[in-house]
Amino acid sequence: MPVSELLLNLVFYIVAAAALGGGIAVATSKNIVRSAFALLTVLFSVAALYALMRADFIVAAQILIYVGGILVLIIFAIMLTHKITDVKLSNESSPGPVSVTACAVLFALIIAAFVYGYSWNTEPRVVRGSDFGKAGYGELSMYQGGGKTRLTPAGTILDGFVRLKLKLRSQAATTARAQFGLVKLKKTGEWEDLPAEKPVRFSVENGSYAAWTERERLEEGKYRWRVRLVDEDGTETPWAEFSAVKGTVDFASEKGLTRAIGRAFMGPYLLAFEVVSVLLLAALVGAAFLARKEVRE
């Protein structure tokens, strides 16, 4: 029995159902305190969905901020409000025709985008090596090594870990395996083929099929990478070359997600991060101002 895809799908559906059910309970419950507590289900289910996507830092942040902070604040606000249980909630009133139409149109649009924007193959299709040119695209993701990793138009200069990854766009099963290779620049214009890696299997990742290999501690230098598919019967496709600039640099590597997020916040996104902090500060000042005014009256 190779994979427990069934099990993971089952977990996903249970968690998704819990998130939706919690959301419905939040929206329809006539008791506002129960609505607030139903939010707990929603927040934890969404955290579980993040866990299924292997975004562990986001899981912790989601629970820490939303459950530990915001939900507690909401419940406090509700409990401290005078006679909150006597308030008639608006969800008892019947919705008008305009809002019903608007919601229906929006919902239909979202569903249409899902159905037509993505290829849903009900029958698993076997991808042969010859389909590779149409079905796949390469993706280069890098562990942030010593902080010196950078990309240049001619290739990439590496001093840390590198992960080469190939994703198949279609949601099709494949019996082929992917073989990765690196090409190193020796002199200007002269490239040397490094020995190719062992072919690796594809596995499911976020709904598409992906194969990857990891290399540690490459010598510093300029590299290009390439990939080909190897079928079961041994036929090989020609090498497809990826120059590093075409691949996307993906910070979400397994070992260093937290570190990568920290580096991104303190590096390229520092200004955006600080601007958001100023926004929160403004909200805080506004809240304090409103609260003070109420006390004076």
Partner: protein, 413 residues
């Protein structure tokens, strides 16, 4: 068996490649086994601790304590557990039935979830994850929600007051806890509980000799004295407040609130709150052990060199449990020593004493990590000042009431 547990951990259950590599029943089974072991351990540990607490209380008050069931009353906890299980489950009429029933499980679930990420022994936790401490702090917040749920759904003013006090207290004390741990994270540079434990194997105060195997002097608490010692005291104090135990037990203050948020609970549901309290105590002690007292490392020598239990796995488990239980027993000792704080004193301690002190340690540890000599200078200045202050307090303190002032013996004539 050991291989089964060590090879597949809970977090792997959510890791695509590991689950892909193992059959689905194996993944389910391993998760189930690990959870079952932990839940049963919590139950037994909490039971034994209730007995221990009563015995410690008794002996501190010159009593005997439970003495009837078993030799020296040592089986009293089994009798208590049996009583709690067969007791009638009373649900008052004026309650929100659904939330009332749900609340104990939310509280216990929050405590239990933290247990799976603790670094029990060298290289093994049920779930090794690289956001370990963040995860533990995060799931513990479910406890607050559960307490609010219990207090509100009980439909009783005592329970509601207790819940509000408890939630306010836990949320407030999370601030010094977070900042004190943040300072230590600067030293270790990782959130992974296993890596944090392993990082205390070698190193010297102020980071002068990073390759020195110093036994207990390489532990986190001695990394940047006195700031790491401050951080330890801040964490332990605030952790004590987060578990709602004396001297911070105003949420359950018997003299004011009957029993706080679990006033209306009885039988098994009540015992869930009880289990959660003891489980939380252990989590606080275990985090303190991991961050400040070297986790599973022995106090003297190298864990792989001196294996008196014949296996690094067992020896790591032994030291981790010994240190954690010592801190748990210290909590009981404090409970029967100190009187309860008032609400305003409690908030004063949190926001005006612990939080600024925690910021000071964070700043000083940051300076020390940046430059060892800077850390040494700061540490000496602040350490000497602290010693001088403590010395002055001790010398000028009035003798405690009820005791006669010390005077030279009068020679008999």
């Amino acid at each position: 068996m050991g291989l089964l547990i060590a090879d597949v951990s809970l977090w792997d259950f959510f890791h695509w490649d590991r689950v892909m590599a193992s059959p689905w029943w194996f993944a389910l089974l391993s998760a189930f086994i690990v959870c079952a072991i932990i839940v049963n351990f919590i139950a037994v540990y909490a039971g034994v601790n209730t007995l221990l607490e009563r015995k410690i209380a008794a002996h501190m008050q010159a009593r005997v304590g439970p003495y009837q069931v078993g030799p020296h009353g040592s089986l009293q906890w089994l009798a208590d557990a049996l009583k709690l299980m067969v007791k009638e489950d009373v649900i008052p009429t004026d309650t929100d039935k659904l939330l009332f029933r749900l609340a104990p499980y939310v509280v216990f679930g929050g405590s239990f979830a933290a247990w799976v990420a603790l670094p029990y022994t060298i290289g093994w936790s049920p779930a090794i994850m690289n956001v370990g401490i963040l995860y533990i702090l995060a799931v513990s917040s479910a406890v607050v929600i559960g307490i609010l749920m219990a207090g509100w759904s009980s439909g009783s003013k005592w329970a509601l007051f207790g819940a509000m006090r408890s939630a306010a207290q836990i949320v407030s004390y999370e601030v010094p806890v977070g900042i004190a741990l943040l300072g230590m994270l600067l030293i270790y540079g990782t959130l992974d509980m296993q890596e944090i434990s392993a990082a205390q194997e070698k190193g010297a105060p102020f980071g002068f000799w990073p390759e020195w195997y110093g036994g207990m002097f390489s532990w986190g608490v001695f990394r940047f004295p006195p700031f790491t010692i401050f951080a330890f005291l801040i964490y332990y104090t605030a952790g004590l407040a987060e578990t709602n135990r004396t001297p911070f037990d105003i949420p359950e203050a018997e003299s004011e609130l009957v029993a706080g948020y679990h006033t209306e609970y009885s039988g098994m549901r009540f015992s869930f709150f009880f289990l959660a309290e003891y489980a939380n105590m252990f989590v606080v002690a275990a985090i303190a052990t991991t961050f400040f007292l070297g986790g599973w490392l022995p106090p003297f020598g190298h864990i792989l060199g001196t294996t008196f239990l014949m296996s690094p796995f067992l020896e790591g488990l032994f030291w981790f449990m010994m240190k954690s239980f010592a801190l748990v027993i210290l909590m009981m000792w404090l409970r029967w020593t100190l009187p309860r704080y008032r609400v305003d004193q409690l908030m004063d301690l949190c926001w005006k004493r612990l939080t600024p002190l925690a910021f000071l340690t964070l700043f000083a540890i940051g300076a020390g990590v940046y430059n060892s000599w800077l850390g040494l200078i700061l540490g000496s200045v602040v350490g000497l000042a602290a010693l001088a202050l403590i010395g002055k307090e001790v010398i000028s303190a009035p003798p405690p009431e009820g005791l006669p002032p010390v005077r030279a013996p009068v020679a008999a004539k």
